[in-house]
Amino acid sequence: MSKDVMADLKRDHIAKMLSKGIREDGRRFEEMRPITIEKEYVRSAEGSARVHLGNTDVIVGIKMMVGQPFADTPNKGVLTTNAELIPLASETFESGPPGREAIEIARVVDRGIREGQAVDMEKLCIEPEKEVWIMFVDIHALDYDGNLFDAANIAAVSALKSTVVPAKRADKGEDFPLPVAHEPISVTAVKIGEHVLVDPTYDEQSVAEARLTVATNENGNLCAMQKGGEGSLTADEVLRIVDLSRTIGAEVRAKT
């Protein structure tokens, strides 16, 4: 109950500030928080990156394993994405099997990498129908201040770019860098009242009515999208967020 009262107070406060054009942390509406990326953060992983997006802190580790391809893609590697929202990162996360929130984050990041064709999966084939590389993208939230979608996406793309396929260890020839072909970057915006804000903080996200994540590629094309939240968006708002994602995505991509 107290949580609801707090949420109401917070919503009023944030909305009042927004109507004056001010965000809690002084950002412009279409401004991302500062991004820092530390690649190869975990040595035991084949590739990794730790990303701070403002106070949101997330690690993505990439592990590569030899395994069987799917029957319908006998000459392609396999991509598996998982997110763990551990209680260490927020009082709202619980231990145990991933809930709907974690599954959604993992699947949206997965969709960006997969549909954006970040990795040339055919180059991960060892022997068609028999052996391919399986790529595990594991997202680990450490500190949660909103917008895990983009933080995880940035970390995943950065980690992929730092990944070396451990072929020698698996007795499959020489090690080689993961063939990264594209860099799909997602940008998430939320709607609070009539305002659209990019890269929401935890507080902003918790009072937002709707959320839209849009992933774009280097050529400005869209490759993945996901709306969330119980509120609605107009078509114009959707198209505006698409435009924002294309321009901001390009700026973020330059940092990975």
């Binding site: 109950m1 709907r100 064709q117 094309n221 490759c223 993945a224 969330g228 698409v242």
Partner: protein, 252 residues
């Protein structure tokens, strides 16, 4: 989606611009909705869209379990989307998987927007979507059916949500992708839409689209939702208006 090579001999669109199942780019699959088809549920709907067969049932408002999920200010709309193991070519392992959990989440959110949840504090409104036969577009079919089932259950709603996908096939923007088009097409945009207020309540996209193509697709899907909305309303009207034959059809 995205670069899966087409098996030999399959052409997604012919020279006349007809799609693999004979439809034109802006054509929906045949849609049939019937409200009030189950006896036990408080509300229900059966929907066929092309070769999709989907059943939706609503229970509630009823006591919310687990209790810690209760909200003292409003009802919880909890959707459970499930595919029958026999609904697809390769048997699906029964039970919730990550895909169905994600779909359940976004459909719950879309439906929450139209239900007057504040009328039923501490309760749960459970929406069960069962896909009996799947042929691409089941989340849209499920959402369309679920909103009819909610209305059939007599739950106060702002409006119905209609849902339909647009996509890109053979470099053309088309409506309502079929199975081959979903598997071998270039992009898919499932949309949940309230035609009267022009609100987007569910939106996903995967594949590869330019911003202009997306704009076109969004417009096509929104227009198609208006047609689906009419079919939804018609299904409810048939359920509740006494027909000339004494209203035998679909009465509990």
């Amino acid at each position: 989606m995205g670069g899966t090579p087409l098996p030999d001999g399959i052409k997604l669109m012919d020279e006349q611009g007809r799609r693999i199942d004979g439809r034109l780019p802006g054509e929906l699959r045949p849609l049939k909705i019937e409200a009030g088809v189950l006896r036990r549920a408080d509300g229900s709907a059966y929907l066929e869209m092309g070769h999709n067969k989907v059943m939706a049932a609503v229970y509630g408002p009823r006591e919310c379990h687990p209790r810690h999920m209760q909200d003292p200010t409003r009802a919880l709309v909890q959707c459970h989307y499930n595919m029958a193991s026999f609904s697809v070519d390769d048997r699906k392992r029964p039970g919730p998987d990550r895909r169905s959990q994600e779909i359940s989440k976004i459909i719950s959110e879309a439906l929450t927007h139209v239900v007057f949840t504040e009328y039923f504090p501490r309760t749960s409104i459970d929406v069960y979507i069962e896909v009996l036969q799947a042929n691409a577009g089941t989340r849209c079919a499920g959402l369309t059916a679920a909103s009819v089932a909610l209305a059939d259950a007599g739950i106060p709603m702002r409006d119905l949500v209609a849902s339909c996908a647009a996509g890109k096939v053979a470099n053309t923007m088309v409506l309502d992708l079929g199975k081959e088009e979903d598997n071998f097409g270039q992009a898919d945009i499932p949309l949940g839409y309230i035609p009267r207020t022009e609100e987007v309540v569910l939106l996903q996209m995967d594949g590869d689209l330019t911003a202009d193509e997306f704009r076109t697709g969004l417009g096509m899907a929104a227009d198609a939702c208006k047609k689906i909305y009419d079919v939804q309303r018609d299904a409810l009207r048939r359920r509740y208006v006494v027909a000339d034959d004494g209203g035998s059809e679909g009465v509990k």
